[in-house]
Symmetry: C2
Subunit: 455 residues, 2 copies
């Protein structure tokens, strides 16, 4: 029995899978409640990506220029977690898709590379974005270096100071990384005027990046999750995993991925959701932190994707666009909303969200490191906590379940959080219900999404 | 044309290649000049590894228990550096063996895993070692966690303070890591008595690790380079690369690897040296920093492997066992000596050492990151500087050379050194000849090795 299942490069998927062909969706709206038109987004994104965002074609060709760059690290290995299975004494067969093998160390370049490509094809010379913990900023820096584009990243100031390695990564790939709030933008200056020592926030950084992007004709903005073209690009993960499982005659009973904005989760799950809509039975669990319980506690509503309300209203699970989550170490899972397609599928019961505490996630990560060897990103540890639970349940039930998990990234740039865990400085956060109710105030007057059924 | 050449797990080499079957060597000696007996090393290493160290069998079976752990990350990909070739406009075809895919991020676990296995098989419960920059310590911590052994690492105090991530890695794999000099050993206390603020050195850390290892019956010491059993275990790199090149109908004209103690270099090169001894023509370049020019400037002599003279006298290129190299960032290449087998082959002209400055190495690493995507360890950058030189030479000569390089590890835990490079704080060091002459004082009264010919 092989530990790792490889694909040859010629077996790589040549098309992305677009879930929009298979599900019913509430459309995005302008702030006044009227339907969003593609042209509304033209100052922010290049038109080829806006068209892709709106597409309902099931299969979209991956351009050869993107395939060439994907081959730097793709196809990624599918690995049987035999040592973890043995340690747990479970009859479950656990497979993980190793997305940590990319140069920036996560799944993020699956979309950063095509986004850089489409921007370049549209004549754009410079991309602006924001980054919180730094995974997205470094993936976009990497992608821009491959296509010779300028890249400017507004990094939340507190992370900029606490995670100098992330900034150095971006600079190694030729990007410019500035602490946000900065003096470069009106949004940044307005914050600094009120509070010169502001530690920054993702909301402020998004505002700065969009402000810098919408001015010059040769500059655009780029987002690392939530939008459908991002989920589309990430589908390469699940499409590869499906082929790899076929090679060893397996098909998953359970699929697990952590979800912040939803892109790595959708990447592994959506090609299988296609099967579920066509009658297959799979348990599919998106996993989030209990400290930011968007899917498990927040309602399905229309809300903005950012604190400054630059984005359209989108139908999603949301804790409210003004929500500021506690400072947990899974920085990539601290978003107030969730990708609309993931949210829609939750509302239909096709996806069943789970949540875990920070400490139990790190415990899972420690067990993983000491069996399967690799040190996981704090975000990925959330998914691993769920894998271990499912494997234990399979043992109790005496069932030979097949579990597939997206190992979304390694934790080598996040070892500071392991240091805090090992020295017992980490604590759990559970939000009081009053705080959740208060957070939801911001969208109470917005339109309500319809309850749609895709199957 | 494929970018990456994979092997299936069933194609993995099942035996290591032992260069001792193919070359003539000056034997190791006791300090008094008499021949070393295997029993002399029994307090330090388990007898099964001592026997392997002395073996002259050409092929040695890899135990199935080791194969099982190797499969966590092996076989590693062989990758065609197409983007670098394009950027250089060279007719050379450049292939790199990606040893950075292991959990600790370098080639080191290729020997850490079998060393942990053989110690366990011999009944050992606990391994002590030292680490400078931290690569070896974290590889041994990883290997010990896989076999349920205790692992204690003495880490040079200045690195312990400057590289907290390395220490956290070791602790995540369950090892204990203490700053050296420590209060735990006589050697450590003696240093601290004289200098309570001692920043430590590799020499002191080795003394502490050996002192702790030779006492209890269930404890032994482990070394990450220089010794022949280490080079033997690393031969899996070159054996895989050979099969992978065969798959695409290639054979190298040039082989390049960085060399500190010599293990990653020997790993990729020795299976091809076997062919050279049997008549093939290959240019083989071990690469070192100009700041620690063991192979390019130091003589071939008998010397000790450590400052405290705990080790036997071995025939090697040496800057003298008391030599303290300048504080360059390629911490793994700051050793005063060189593996005896590598040294012997240099003395015969089969290997042709090269040296590069720190700044040109980082320049090479920057070009690599912006073309091939991955951020390399500072040590690996030395090899890449040589690759780029050879590729340029091939362009000048209009020759379609095939270059094979060992990409020994990623630089994600070394981003601090990139930060110093990017902010122009790094400088070059070239040792004055007087300093080299002085460094050589320490071995002037030792026996002289004979000049032997292997072919």
């Amino acid at each position: 029995m092989a530990k790792k299942i490889f694909l040859d490069e010629q077996e790589m998927p040549t098309q992305w899978y677009n879930i929009m062909a298979d599900i019913k969706m509430n459309p995005p709206l302008r702030a006044d409640g009227t339907p969003l038109e593609p042209g509304d987004l033209a100052p922010v994104f290049p038109m080829n990506l806006i068209e892709q965002e709106a597409s309902t074609e099931r299969w979209i060709d991956i351009p050869e220029e993107v395939m060439e760059k994907y081959r730097i690290w793709r196809p990624t290995p599918l690995v049987r977690a035999t040592a973890l299975e043995k340690a747990l004494g479970t009859p479950a067969r656990i497979y993980y898709k190793n997305e940590g093998v990319s140069p920036p160390g996560s799944h993020k370049p699956n979309t950063a590379v095509p986004q850089a490509y489409y921007n370049k094809a549209f004549g754009i010379k410079r991309i602006c974005t924001e980054t919180g913990a730094g995974q997205w900023g470094s993936a976009l820096a990497f992608a821009c270096s491959l296509f010779g584009l300028e890249c400017k990243v507004y990094m939340v100031k507190i992370s900029f100071q606490q995670k100098p390695y992330r900034r150095t990564m971006m600079e190694t790939w030729g990007a410019t990384c500035v602490a946000s709030p900065s003096e470069e933008t009106q949004s940044g200056r307005a914050v600094l005027e009120k509070d010169p020592d502001s530690p920054g926030s993702l909301g402020i950084a998004i505002s700065e990046a969009i402000e810098m992007a919408v001015g010059p004709e040769d500059t655009r903005y780029s987002l690392g999750s939530v939008l459908n073209h991002v989920l589309l690009h990430q589908s390469v993960i699940g499409l590869e995993a499906k082929k790899q499982m076929e090679k060893v005659g397996e098909y998953p009973d359970v699929i697990i991925g952590c979800a912040g904005g939803g892109s790595n989760f959708a990447g592994i799950a959506f090609p299988f959701v296609h099967d579920v809509i066509n009658g297959k039975e799979i348990k599919i669990y998106p996993v989030e932190p209990k400290a930011c319980p968007t899917m498990t506690k927040a309602p399905f509503v229309y809300d903005h994707g950012d604190i400054a309300k630059f984005t359209p209203l989108i139908a999603m699970h949301s804790l409210g666009h003004a929500f500021v989550p506690p400072p947990i170490h899974a920085g990539g899972l601290r978003y107030h909303g969730m990708a609309p397609q993931v949210s829609q599928l939750i509302s239909e019961g096709i996806l069943e969200p789970r949540s875990y505490h920070q400490l139990e996630s790190f415990e899972a990560g420690m067990m993983w490191a000491q069996t399967e060897g690799y040190i996981s990103a704090p975000e990925t540890n959330q998914a691993l906590a769920c894998v271990i639970d499912e494997a234990k349940k399979a043992k109790e039930e005496g069932k030979e379940k097949v579990i597939l998990v997206n190992w979304s990234g390694h934790g080598l740039i996040d070892l500071g959080s392991y240091e805090r865990y090992l020295s017992k400085q980490l604590t759990d956060y559970e939000l009081p219900d009053e705080m959740l109710e208060k957070a939801e105030e911001v969208f109470k007057d917005f339109p309500k999404p319809a309850l749609l059924k895709s199957r």
